[in-house]
Symmetry: D3
Subunit: 292 residues, 6 copies
């Protein structure tokens, strides 16, 4: 046997060992439903995206029922800028005029969603893009008088998503809602939480650009490793949370209350963070959990 | 009984009579598959669109399996212009640079498709938007070296569309294809024909802005009422067809050859032209048929 | 275009308009179960019968689950007279000797039921005749000591009827019941109500020869347009009802109490009265309803 | 143990022995389809009828798919006589005027069929009466110009019968056919053969009042025990058959040709002749078979 | 007809009569679940075994869902002796060393179970052998510190057994349990009772070598014919039961409490005792029952 | 972060990387059927066995339909010796007297099979032991006059195995066959090949103690890496094969001819050789393949 062949065999053996060690995790996740909210630069960078999508497909292949909910703020802002539409945020939410809503849908459904579906499809006839209008998955109405076509979810119809999961597809869901008077822009963090609740998901994962939740955003050492639901509520009420994290943490708290037993905040720019969380006992990111 | 009540009853009786007269047509279309290619100003005008969508929902409700394939040239051109992208056509097909392809997807999948799905949803949890990437419905590759990301359909995977039809949904299909190297822009007339063939559809209807096929486009009296498949082929070969009609008529001829027994060209700006064609014996538009 | 063609097209356009206007009603009735009790001259007149059957088939085609329960008093009396059997009524119910019961079954199951099934079959493999013995749909016992083989329903087995509805058939049900000691004659108004209750039907329609329920039968202007369940009970208890209406109204009241939300009394000799009731907002006949 | 108890036990032991001996036959008939044509005095006598019906239910319970096709000549003639309708036969077939057809349907579907269904129902929710109009099981047209509404079977739709068999019911079929222009009287021997062919039945049994087929009707010793299909055809062609047996034997020969491997002629007045044929090796009646 | 033929026909007629008389019993047992615990010399004697297996197959063929649970004490002891392993019982239970457990599995699963499955297979693709490890049907743990690998049932997974019953198989179950730390020897009387409870069986039959339960084992006349559940409990508590019967009677009492309405003790050496119990009204053996 | 935590995270990252790299292989094996023949010391050593079983469960979890067929020569010989039964081989096949057959069944079905099923069950309700008698999976008859109860497979009934695979179980199959006159001992290499053919398996893997097939058994360097079907046949015919390999190689050749596209010979004592073969491109063992 040549040196090169020996090296190759050595590597293959390592692979086999690792796969074998993953079995208990694979076993315990069989048939479980996991909603992954995906966004930030982990989604914009092509190589990171390729990795995340591959991780998601792997999770599907080993028997998990996995749903990808994505945001797309950067793509929206880029398109709006190209179209000379004013970009304005109030209380962290995009003020969405009807023209802006058009841009939101084009960027989210026409660009980001299709890009993710196409990436999933590299592994087979697997991806199906779903916006809230498809099968009226998200029935929405106006959130308030200030934000225009920003919507709140009134009802989640899970029939289409569940039918897709039963057929073996990976639903890729955009945060756009259907309303009687037209489409609405839904916060993707909230959409993911609402969908996880309606699907009785076992786990909800927020995959973004930060390592997790910091008690004090300026203090890297304040990263929360795990936190029980009661404490999460206290944290939300305390008013000390960084503003950008409020909707995410609030949505996470609601999911916990509604029966989603674990909610995670992971850094998607960290290679294979999904696999690390699900198939190893490495303690990365922040985990919220509900005590029995 | 008051005069007003009498009038109302009179109108209701007329309604009942007409419904009763439609039964034989409804009966004969039960369970049949119909692909409708929808485009032009019949799609852009809100009131016409509302009518066409209502007609399509009605056709579904009375037992037809109906698929809507749409174009969106105007929306694409408008977006490209707003984005300062050059609009160029060669041999009637849009030269599609990668940037243009982005605009095509945003306009078709993010705007036109969602607009139609939302319109269908006015009648229930009925509409599901599908692009060629969803379930890899259209597997495509580059058409040629000239048109950039204009694609030809290599394979149609009907699983997703059929699953949606079996579940009672109305699939709304955008002419975008999935390729190993990214998305492709597919001519919607061709996409409709390919899908009709793959679904073994009973009927393919081109719903556009013109009254049908003219032998001589400048002579209104030359409108073709009906034409057998052999003659259609001769017409295509004759070279006398108006250029814009060539892809449509060629696609129609291919559908006929592959077993779709009737292909129609209807004017979608004419109120309820779909219902007229399917539920009355009014001879409107142009019909191609295949003799046994 | 010739004058004749223009007229035809005009008519076709009217047809299309009317169909389009019916969509909201069709939409709202999708998947609902409706039991129609059918009898009187609306059933005996061939042209009226043809119309009613066509209306029923149309209702099936647009997605309603429809069951036809029929009477046949005239056919029974005619056969009994031809067989020299004495015709006698006590308290509005036919005194049914064993010989009379034979005649009842022959007239109802062998003649009227088959006639209706055959009429339905004009529109496809659609009709299935069912008597209470088939699948022991109506398990019955003697009503009292006076009326001989007049029966009361002890139990309704819906399995056969539901299996037929699931398969797309239109069950046509005769008011004959199965008893351990032989067949029983069941009042068709009661049979329809019992079946509607057992099927959890959404609507029960009595289609007969009169325009609806009159508070005072001699005063045409006393026709009731609509009445809440409580008032229906009071009406039954008041003792002022015309005797012939008592079983029907009592059966209707029981259906309301058991969850059938609407019960209608329509005049089947009025053309397309079923369609008028279901697909227009014309206020014809009498409607009983239950307030939430 | 008392003498009486001993005797009872002895009888029970005999029962158990016999049941045990029947196992190989039960085993070999599991899932097989058998069509039984039932008629004559074996059907008119209440005690014989009770026995035959019990045998049929037993055959169903041990796993056979069994269909009962019945005639009813006597009941028809009796009703026609009671209604003062002329009874006339030409070439062994009843001349059937429209009035006579009414009587045929009433007697067959309304009386004989219901009587048999009710008898089956003594053993559970098992019987379902089916005439040719139900599900358009027998699509028929006029046989000739002479016999009026005597029909020949154009097409057998097995969907309804097979759905009933799959659901565990015992279909009880009357020899009445559906035609576009009204009902037809079908020879029950032929109806049974046509149905056996369409169902791909394994066995067709003619259960009547005679011991089987006689080569010479006047010579009791000429009873045929078994006969191969070729010889059956020769026998039909020879012209020596008693006229009344011609339709039955012809129908049997057609069934053999179409793949029904065994056709039997049994005497239904002989107690449990069905069980004898199916579950013992007693050679009773006449058997036609097809050599491989 | 010859004398011999007459005799044969006479016997066949008797067979047919007996079958016909069995119908009410067959009818009433359709679809019911029966667990038979089988053991003792009724299992060891080849001819008795052939009979019992045939009875079981017959019960399956007439529609009962039947499960055979077997012991095999003699086969175990014989193998242990041949392997020079010490045979020891404490409190009526075999002390089971790991080596003995090997012998238990080999004798029970490898010999007795396979012998029974093969016997069932004489009648078709019917038998499926199941030990507690298959599908983890019996999850077990150690009973106590004394008996080694004698186990108690912690949980019964019925999925595999029910899947086999649904597919038409006859599950043949060995009293071996799966434990996290290896296999366990389970008392077959208890295994049968646990399985009957988990399957919601209608009947549990103990088929052994004795005629039933004796109040006083030395007094043949003290055979119990039937006993209500309350009295069974008193009997167990009284301490007067023969030691060998204690586990069986206790298990029976638990089954009664858990909803198995009848438990029988039959002598399997008595020919066709199963058929006698199920298909005749002969009062053999002992029956425990629960009053409503 | 502590040093220990850093190391742990490092290891977890490596794990995630390896899993991610396995995706293409997992993807390509989804839904494929693989039959693994398992035997030799790779089965007898507890730690090796644990590894192989874990690999098999992993293969099931990632979507492969996997069947384990096992031998057990050593266990058989050990039991026969303990029972003082003579062990004799003729032409490489065990001479199997009826007493020896008992020992074969006890060792294979009662010991080895149960041991493997229990091992699989460590990962869930997954294992189901199947011998040829179960569902008459292997119908067999005597191979010849010399070897006693050594059998050849006449027919494979796949219904039970496929039902188990559909339900998500891992069938563990013993090489014992059912014959009308009792059980037969089947060569497990042949049983695996016959089962792979009947299941239309995609791959058949022989997992034993040797590294693969040697052209010259005494020359380690003559290990065959891969060989086309034609050459395999020539090799068998050449007569140069080591005797012990003849049945295996012959069985492999038959599987190739019958449509199993790849047959592998792997060394099961090499850690995770199954995973290496299926999920890496390491070239281990010998592969036979069929050119298109």
């Amino acid at each position: 046997m040549l040196k090169r062949e020996k090296d190759e065999l050595e590597r293959a053996k390592q692979t086999a060992n690792v796969l074998a060690e993953a079995l208990p995790w694979i076993n315990s996740w069989e048939g479980k439903t996991v909603v992954v909210k995906y966004g930030g630069s982990a989604m914009e960078d092509p190589e990171l995206r390729r990795q995340v999508v591959a991780d998601v497909v792997l999770m599907r292949r080993v028997g998990m029922r996995i749903v990808l909910v994505h945001g797309g703020g950067k793509a929206i802002s880029a398109l709006m800028k190209a179209l000379d539409l004013p970009v304005e945020f109030v209380d962290g939410l995009r003020v969405t005029t009807p023209e802006a809503m058009d841009a939101v849908q084009m960027a989210l459904v026409g660009k980001v969603n299709q890009m993710l579906v196409s990436a999933v499809d590299q592994y087979g006839d697997l991806g199906v893009g779903i916006s809230g209008a498809d099968g009226r998955t998200f029935v929405t109405s106006a959130l308030d008088d200030v934000h225009g076509r920003v919507g709140k979810v009134e009802r989640v119809n899970t029939h289409l998503v569940e039918s897709m999961l039963d057929d073996g597809y990976i639903p890729v869901v955009a945060g756009v809602g259907w309303g009687e008077d037209g489409s609405y822009n839904i916060n993707a963090d909230v959409a993911a939480s609402e969908l996880a609740i309606a699907l009785h998901a076992d786990k909800l994962i927020y995959l973004s650009d930060v390592d997790g939740l910091y008690r004090d955003f300026d203090d890297e050492s304040s990263l929360v490793s795990s936190m029980e639901a009661t404490e999460v509520h206290e944290l939300v009420d305390s008013g000390t949370l960084e503003r950008g994290m409020i909707p995410k943490v609030t949505a996470a708290a609601e999911a916990l209350d509604a029966g989603v037993t674990h909610v995670h905040f992971l850094n998607g720019t960290f290679p294979h963070s999904l696999l690390l969380e699900v198939f190893t006992d490495a303690g990365i990111g922040t985990m919220f959990y509900k005590e029995d």
